[in-house]
Amino acid sequence: MTDSKYFTTTKKGEVFEMRSELNSEKKEKKREAVKKVIASMTVGKDVSALFPDVVNCMQTDNLELKKLVYLYLMNYAKSQPDMAIMAVNTFVKDCEDANPLIRALAVRTMGCIRVDKITEYLCEPLRKCLKDEDPYVRKTAAVCVAKLYDINAQLVEDQGFLDALRDLLSDSNPMVVANAVASMSEINEASGHPVIEMNPQTINKLLTALNECTEWGQVFILDFLANYIPKDDREAQSICERVTPRLAHANAAVVLSAVKVAMKLMEMMPNDSEYVITLTKKLAPPLVTLLSSEPEVQYVALRNINLIVQKRPDILKHEMKVFFVKYNDPIYVKLEKLDIMIRLATQANIAQVLAELKEYATEVDVDFVRKSVRAIGRCAIKVEQSAERCVSTLLDLIQTKVNYVVQEAVVVIKDIFRKYPNKYESIISTLCENLDTLDEPDARASMIWIIGEYAERIDNADELLESFLDGFHDENTQVQLALLTAIVKLFLKRPTATQELIQQVLSLATQESDNPDLRDRGYIYWRLLSTDPAAAKEVVLAEKPLISEETDLLEPTLLDELICNIASLASVYHKPPSAFVEGSRGFRKALPARFGSRDERDLSTLPTTSERLA
């Protein structure tokens, strides 16, 4: 029989049965019983009633049994604090065991038991373990300090464990250093202020350990280094030079963390310096390589590349092709690639991009197709020379009559009109033909906007708009508002034939609607029109500002904060950590100022107190 049998016991009275087995004289039977308890615990059954019986099995030479009992303790000690005390003696004894594996196991487990009384007893063993002769014990103790800090920060400070941790940063063993760094970072983050002064000597030690520790340790160290601000651009460059070899590591997390350090330090160096130019070139290949990792890792990489492309477009400007979507990519990878393609689109590569986008717009996944259509519109707005090609591509797509494609196309064509007014009105007739198929508010509102804007060129504009009025109250607010404005525009352009229409819409909006926004807008138009039609014309038909070239760019301060958080969850969500981490006291990360930049000059020219005027 194999271990899966432990998952299948569902009888009543099994707790009772397990208890008698736990108290069995036979070692083998005891072990079996503990396994059964752990299996029950895993599937969510409450086996806390067995606490004393399980703890009784703790004193054993059998390492396997000991590990199982410890696992149980970690889970239930909190709910049985008084009885957990029973385990303390064994813990303390185990911390003195001759076998380093047992010493480490004991200190590791003790740190996970969040019971105040046990925590008190933890201090002495922990102090010893932090200075243990065996590196395996020391690296475990290093993490234990962070555990203890989480339970009782004051205790850690009072007991001087922070100093001990600081000493471990210069330990001879790279893995101890890495864990001490991880522990330290967590404490820094939790306390909201750095508990350790970072100086060039410590940084130097960490950079040395970087070459020797495990891949995970390298990530801890790199993430820690990313928070350090060098004193000048020379120090920044020398750190950068020692970090960039990591870009060739097989582990994507190591690569991304190295990218983060480089991106941050580059801020401190002049953009035209030779080093920055070479570094920019060096960063591209590893980023591209990340796209051949597992899809989940690719996703994280793509979300980060999206940020990097916004911050420093030069890095990946020649790499458009690698972001082309593959037929078998998971949808989340496809959508991200699409975003980056648009960001990288330029006059030079637009033909290729458009050909791809057109291909994507015929795929199956609705979200992906919609986003592709939208992307074509964004290309038109971004690269003026391509606008005509984009518009004709969109027209082709409208001809496919696929409902959601048509709707999405109408929405983006409205944006194109806003960017290039009076340029492509020849396509309006095609759009009007598809009026009936539009059933989404966005598309309807866009279409209505287009009709209003170009009312003087559409012979039957009044009929078209009137057709929307029938179901006015069933429309979405967005559509109602658009319709109101469009009819006002029409009236101002062709006052004679549309008297009735304007009356109708104004009364619908003001008297029959209970939506305050709509009513307000209706009254404003009404009064404008009745008091001063000329002024109304000036207001309603005023020239609109063009929409900007780059849409959905992140706001610069947020972008900078996210660059400091490359590889982290924040960079995946594109949100600052404070938006999703509860009670985060962590200081907002900001990019370092370029050395000798204006901010600093301003400071230095401030009059000092000694120069106070008499």
Binding site: F7, E64, P100, R114, T214, A301, V581
Partner: protein, 445 residues
């Protein structure tokens, strides 16, 4: 860092649950089940945020692996860790399946305890873990005798283990001895291609890896050399090799990545690849090239649609490598519309079959020499449907294996130095092999 780790079966039942942080409660387990595993829509992202708790997941077969956190963790590391964890499990008990996980749950807890402390990843090297994680994995069919032997270790063994786990060379045991020192190098390349209908290369790249199997005594220092342009140039000498023999003297590598054992700072400064290899098999390097790729095959598609009930597909397959070489396991996959009712096939070489369950015509050829050409033509009958949705032709894809490296990469040398044990570079028996395989090799039609 990682606050908790859960493994579920396809029904969403928990098989393994390990919580490292106080902020992750039992409700997190249920939240993931309800919102991701049982979600009505297919999951749109491998990262999900539910009530301020973030869930990272990967899936292997029917099994879901989820890491949970409330903090701003390093997301790349969490996924890399999950992937590594799966790899560790596989090396202990083979295939990831519900049965195997249930059968090995004690082992899994023990492993987790060792590779993750308070949510921080620790040493995950399989070779090292196996020296002290006492449980032996139970593979599906093994008998009880083979499981769980608790060995009692001597004091020396214990300290050796701990220095091993934390040491500078965390990937190799000391005191390895072989009577015959031998090593194997496999250069395996995956050629990826996306070609337009008109035969224009939209994108092409080679993703290659060098896999090394080493059976060497002691702590050997190895130096590895390839015909990489930069590596060759940095040696400051023009290549003396006969260029006609190797085709290209040197190749341009866009990017390469190395196993943990390679000294990266040395690579950066001297462009030399030096390392102490783990024992047995490992992936020494991965690389990518985009220039001067010799594409082994070319597909020329011709598709004609007649009205709504008939389609004609004709495909010419050309092999473009040296006539003396032989490609194997060639397979061309031609997608067919969903409303296909019948297919007539004629092919000059190999066997072709219409597989209705896969909506594709699969054309297989066992072997094909270089500079040859073959053809298949298919007549596809279609059912009339009212379905307005247009069928979008997926690209024609192909698989193959060729006995050369399409990137042009050559291994120039692998030198072994072990100063403490009495064997020299010449005593080591070395084997090199090149395999070129299809990655995503597609032609749009």
């Amino acid at each position: 860092m990682i606050g908790g780790l859960f493994i579920y079966n396809h029904k969403g039942e928990v098989l393994i649950s390990r919580v490292f942080r106080d902020d992750i409660g039992r409700n997190a387990v249920d939240a993931f089940r309800v919102n991701v595993i049982h979600a009505r829509q297919q999951v749109r992202s491998p990262v999900t945020n539910i009530a301020r708790t973030s869930f990272f997941h990967i899936k292997r077969g029917n099994i879901w692996f989820a890491a949970v956190t409330k903090q701003n963790v390093n997301a790349a590391m969490v996924f890399e860790f999950l992937l590594k964890m799966v790899e560790v499990m596989q090396s202990y008990f083979g295939k990831i399946s519900e049965d195997n996980i249930k059968n090995n749950f004690v082992l899994i807890y023990e492993l987790l305890d060792e590779i993750l402390d308070f949510g921080y990843a620790q040493n995950t090297d399989v070779g090292i873990l196996k020296t002290f994680i006492t449980q032996q994995g139970i593979k599906g069919t093994q008998s009880k005798e083979e499981q769980a032997q608790i060995t009692s270790q001597s004091k020396e063994e214990q300290t050796q283990i701990t220095s091993q786990v934390t040491g500078q060379i965390t990937h190799r045991r000391v005191g390895i001895k072989y009577r015959r020192n031998e090593l194997f190098l496999d250069t395996i390349e995956y050629v990826n291609l996306l070609m337009s209908q008109q035969g224009q290369i939209l994108s092409a790249h080679v993703a290659g890896k060098v896999v090394m199997k080493s059976y060497l005594s002691g702590m050997p220092e190895c130096k590895f050399g390839i015909n990489d342009k930069i590596q060759m140039d940095s040696k400051g000498k023009t290549t003396t090799e006969d260029p006609s023999r190797s085709g290209k003297a040197s190749i341009a590598i866009d990017d390469c990545q190395f196993h943990q054992c390679v000294k990266l700072s040395k690579f950066e400064s001297e462009h030399s690849i030096s390392f102490i290899p783990p024992d047995g098999e490992f992936e020494l390097m991965r690389y990518r090239t985009t220039k001067d790729i010799s594409l082994p095959f070319r597909i020329i598609p011709l598709v004609r649609e007649f009205e709504r009930t008939k389609m004609e597909v004709k495909i010419v397959l050309k092999s473009t490598f040296k006539p003396s070489l032989l490609a194997q396991k060639i397979e061309v996959r031609i997608p067919t519309p969903l409303n296909t009712s019948g297919v007539q096939l004629i092919c000059m070489k190999g066997k072709a079959k219409y597989k209705s369950s896969e909506n594709a015509i699969v054309w297989k050829i066992k072997r094909m020499g270089g500079m040859k050409e073959s053809q298949i033509s298919a007549e596809i009958e279609l059912l009339q449907t009212n379905d307005k949705k247009k069928w979008t032709r997926p690209p024609i894809s192909m698989n193959f294996e060729v006995p050369f490296a399409p990137s042009g990469l050559k291994v120039r040398y692998l030198k072994v130095f072990e100063s403490k044990i009495n064997y020299s570079d010449q005593d080591v028996i070395k084997w090199v092999r090149y395999i070129g395989r299809s990655g995503l090799y597609e032609t749009r039609c």
